[in-house]
């Protein structure tokens, strides 16, 4: 059982923790507003999102485009021995630009959208049902999957799995659309069990073979770019799955898997790792699995219980999670009260930090936790912070040097000068003029903003000493350097 948090434990630190984990962090003002609301209302506002929060207007290009015709055209040119590369490149370019735009679109929603937990849960499902644009190669399908994940993020898990089994991007990613009655493809069937529902060790190779037969007949209409069912491709023979025999279909398999105790354990553990802590105790996994079953795999009440539990607010858990690269980008923009990095800068940062939206490394998604951090990614975070604070002024001016703008990870910086343009942050928003001349107050103010867990006294003293060492110089540049120093610490990587 999860223990509800006592009202007396609800305070500023708890409110900050809730915003960090159930969203992408908050400014001191937002944290104070949430604290005042009280725990119950704060959690309610996160999970009871208005129905139109999931009803997000798509980017302008996100509509079906008769991909069949496009690809036929390229193929015909190729078969005729004509130069098809130009046309193919044009299509690829477009797909590339659209994916960059889709990343921008989603980051915007995370940063300014009305439902941060809905976006965070969509990110959880994206990692769970990991699908890469590198294989799918069509931005509309990638958007469509994102939309499906968002619309079902708080809903019923079995329903979501069934929708994903009919999702074109997933069908392409795991070769389901190639599965034929004569040659059932086992890729989807295997991952459905190993990665999406019950986890390894809870099924047999025969279960994979038999269930692969039940998902035959799933097709994509390449003209409309939608799922279509082809009854003639379906294997209607009897199948035996986990001891049950009958003319089972794909949805029967999903229902059967979700009803296994292993599924609640598997999903519960993954949720707990994502929202609460890296190494959940057996007891906490059992508790969350039990609640998941009790709520019949409806995600909304499960999330409500997690974010209302004393376990979630325990001292061990607060401020102990390494920010994922996406969390880093969104939360930092919030804390700096600055626009998000430009689409290209953001995409480069995702690449260098190891989490590119719509391009997980493989079907297992991102492991997260300590795997986010190596000497290279940590140094990149520090240098990226410099860019976020000071803007493109840190990129050297002349051409030769600008090539060295690759120093902060922007390869081919010469062509990108425009695309990575950025203004320095506005310090007036962060530090009122009347405290500027008081180093300890400035440091206190900024620490409250940038760290939810107070750094060690020694570090705080370092920050103060730094300000004092710059004599009475409280010019913007000094304060920006101070913020850069604060962000260039191990502690800042935590949330």
């Amino acid at each position: 059982m999860l223990t509800p948090l006592a009202d007396s434990k609800w305070n500023e630190a708890a409110a900050a923790h809730l915003l960090n984990r159930a969203g992408f962090g908050g400014t001191p003002t937002e944290i104070e507003a949430v604290r005042r609301k009280g725990l119950a209302a704060a959690v309610r506002d996160l999970v009871e999102v208005k129905s139109d929060a999931a009803n997000v207007p798509p980017p302008s290009w996100a509509h079906p485009r008769n991909i069949q015709a496009q690809r036929m055209e390229i193929k015909a040119a190729k078969d005729r021995g004509e130069n098809f590369q130009g046309k193919a490149r044009q299509v690829r370019m477009m797909e590339g630009e659209e994916i960059v735009d889709l990343r921008r679109w989603w980051l915007d929603r995370m940063l300014t959208g009305p439902a941060p937990l809905l976006e965070k849960m969509t990110l959880f499902w994206h990692g769970h049902f990991a699908t890469s644009a590198q294989k799918v190669q069509d931005a509309y399908w990638i958007w469509l999957q994102n939309d499906t994940l968002r619309r079902n993020a708080f809903g019923n898990f079995a329903t979501l799995v069934k929708k994903i089994s009919r999702d074109p991007a997933m069908m392409i990613y795991l070769d389901l659309q190639q599965s034929r009655k004569e040659h059932p493809n086992e890729n989807w069937a295997r991952e459905l069990m190993e990665l999406f529902t019950v986890g390894i060790g809870n099924y047999t190779e025969q279960d994979i073979r038999e269930s692969a037969r039940t998902f035959t007949g799933y097709r994509i209409d390449m003209t409309t770019q939608q799922f279509r069912f082809a009854p003639f491709q379906q294997d209607r023979g009897p199948k035996t799955f986990m001891g049950k025999t009958g003319s089972l279909n794909g949805d029967d398999i999903i229902d059967s898997l979700v009803s296994k105790p292993a599924c609640a354990q598997f999903i519960g553990r993954k949720l707990w790792r994502f929202f609460v802590e890296d190494d959940p105790s057996r007891q906490n996994v059992d508790a969350i699995a039990q609640r998941t079953r009790a709520h019949n795999f409806e995600m909304r009440p499960v999330l409500r219980e997690i974010f209302s539990s004393a376990e979630f607010y325990s001292e061990r858990v607060m401020g102990s999670q390494i920010k994922s690269p996406i969390q880093y980008i969104v939360q930092t923009s919030k804390l700096l009260d600055a626009p998000p990095p430009s689409p290209i800068a953001a995409q480069n940062a995702m690449r260098q930090m190891g989490q590119i939206l719509f391009a997980p490394p493989n079907v297992k998604g991102w492991d997260g936790g300590k795997e986010w951090i190596s000497t290279s990614t940590l140094l990149f975070r520090y240098n990226f912070a410099n860019y976020l604070i000071n803007g493109d002024a840190i990129l050297p001016q002349n051409l030769q040097q600008r090539r060295q703008g690759a120093d902060v990870g922007f390869g081919r910086a010469t062509q990108m000068a425009e695309q990575v343009r950025r203004e320095p942050i506005d310090l007036g928003k962060l530090v009122p003029a009347d405290v500027r001349s008081k180093p300890r107050e400035v440091v206190d103010l900024l620490i409250r903003r940038f760290f939810q867990t107070r750094p060690a006294q020694k570090e705080i003293d370092s920050f103060v000493q730094y300000l004092e060492s710059r004599t009475s110089d409280t010019a913007d540049v000094t304060l920006r350097e101070l913020i850069h120093l604060m962000m260039s610490t191990p502690q800042f990587q935590l949330t």
């Binding site: 190729k78 021995g81 130069n83 098809f84 590369q85 890469s132 294989k135 390894i200 060790g201 809870n202 099924y203 047999t204 190779e205 890296d278 102990s320 999670q321 690449r351 490394p361 493989n362 079907v363 297992k364 492991d367 936790g369 300590k370 795997e371 951090i373 190596s374 000497t375 290279s376 940590l378 140094l379 520090y382 240098n383 410099n386 604070i389 000071n390 840190i394 060295q404 690759a406 120093d407 902060v408 390869g411 060690a456 020694k458 570090e459 370092s462 000493q465 730094y466 060492s469 710059r470 540049v477 350097e481 850069h484 120093l485 260039s488 610490t489 191990p490 502690q491 990587q493 935590l494």
Partner: protein, 428 residues
């Protein structure tokens, strides 16, 4: 409980075996690195799918000339190795090295059930997994995890913008940079010739925590994450882990920058990304960076159309870069310590296409090059008529090459890194 045992599927078995091997590895010999005498592996990725047929040319095979009316390299131009096999005319430097006994060519390398997607096949080569299994950790990452506990983070160095998946590990080790100057903390205002105030405080903030937290360890070396045995890393608190990594980043950055400043090559390298990468690697080797594995790459091999000029240019770049690198290493007296290994995610279709290019294929040759390797031709040149969907059939699993290099060159137990033992080759 028979039921439980019966549900033990093959993957579970493999997983368990991996786990058991993992535990075993904790006791295995830890690689000691001094930077001055250990053997070094350089992995060179040819990204995009290199056309093996026009690199190592079966020039006397009629089927080659029939399948490649436009792309074929004629017998009078190629650099002959024997009566059947020759190198591309652009590989003159490599041919000399071959004649000197410094090159092994492993022919017909691939893996069962070849995948023709760049993305997936690259992943298979990087993780050394079977084609039907997805593995997250890279083969070099597993080597770092299992055999390099206690090593400096610069035990692996990748030249590029992005860490290759081959380095992915439970405990991320290794550093990645395009230019040494990039791998450092950049203050807002660069100090002119000396540390700026910001840099001085940065150093304080990124060293202090460790000494304070752990009490006993000295802040300059003892706090390094590398000093913690591999398994124990899982038990570090996240903050402690971050503090140690921060210190490591700083130490490695200092070391790399110092070497980059001190060591310049007297050999002239050609232009190009690969040459620049190999040049950095040679300088790091000269400076004694304690690195066991370097990683460099060359892109552009996806030659679906107009291949003849593109591939010639790529072969030329490859040849010139590698030749300069070898000359540099020889001059340093380090050639005996270095083994360079090439790979590409797949070869290309035997039959050329209608656009004077080739489509994604399967088996292809790998080059193994070094001052102390066993030279010659290994494996068999695959038949150009007995094909699998128009592609060459492999006869040597790429993991045999990896395994041999691990066992005999890096002296690391290959079955721990690769999950099982693959037949060794006499290349080392």
């Amino acid at each position: 409980m028979l039921g439980a045992a019966a549900t033990w599927t093959l993957p579970v078995f493999l997983e368990k075996t991996f786990f058991a091997l993992d535990a075993l590895a904790a006791d295995a010999v830890t690689q000691t690195v001094t930077g001055k005498d250990g053997t070094i592996l350089v992995v060179l990725q040819m990204a995009g799918g290199n056309d093996g047929l026009n690199m190592v040319v079966p020039y006397s095979d009629d089927a080659y000339h029939v399948a490649r009316p436009r792309l074929r390299l004629s017998a009078d131009k190629v650099l002959k190795i024997d009566n059947h096999i020759a190198l591309s005319p652009k590989l003159a430097g490599l041919k000399s090295l071959y004649d000197e006994g410094h090159v092994a060519i492993v022919q017909g390398v691939g893996y069962p059930n070849p995948n023709r997607s760049h993305f997936r096949s690259t992943e298979i080569w990087q993780t050394a997994s079977d084609a039907d299994r997805t593995v997250s950790d890279g083969w070099l990452g597993r080597y770092f995890d299992n055999c390099c506990g206690g090593a400096d983070p610069t035990v692996g160095v990748a030249i590029g913008e992005e860490t290759p998946q081959a380095f992915a590990a439970k405990n991320p080790t290794g550093v990645t940079f395009s230019r040494p100057e990039q791998f450092r903390f950049r203050p807002s205002e660069p100090g002119r010739g000396q540390l700026s105030a910001e840099e001085i405080f940065f150093r304080q903030l990124n060293e202090a925590g460790v000494a304070e937290e752990s009490g006993t360890v000295a802040s300059n070396t003892g706090g390094s994450i590398g000093a913690i045995p591999g398994k124990a890393k899982n038990d570090l608190s996240t903050l402690d882990f971050l503090q140690r990594t921060a210190l490591d980043a700083q130490l490695s950055s200092d070391k790399i920058l110092a070497i980059a400043r001190k060591y310049k090559s007297s050999v002239t390298y050609p232009q190009g990304q690969l040459a620049a990468g190999l040049n950095i690697i040679a300088r790091m080797i000269a400076g004694g960076l304690p690195t066991r594995v370097y990683y460099a790459s060359q892109g552009g091999f996806d030659t679906h159309a107009g291949q003849i000029n593109t591939h010639e240019r790529l072969m030329g770049e490859f040849n010139d870069a590698v030749t300069a690198f070898v000359a540099d290493l020889k001059q340093q007296g380090n050639f005996e310590r270095v083994l360079l290994l090439t790979f590409s995610e797949f070869g290309r279709r035997v039959q050329e296409n209608a656009n004077g290019g080739t489509d994604h294929g399967a088996a292809a040759p790998m080059f193994v090059l070094g001052g102390a390797i066993k030279p010659g031709l290994f494996g068999k040149y695959p038949s150009l008529t007995d094909l699998d969907h128009g592609d060459l059939k492999f006869n040597t699993d790429f993991r045999s090459v990896y395994g041999t290099v691990l066992d005999r060159w890096l002296k690391a137990p290959s079955e721990i890194v690769l999950g099982r033992k693959f037949p060794a080759l006499a290349i080392v």
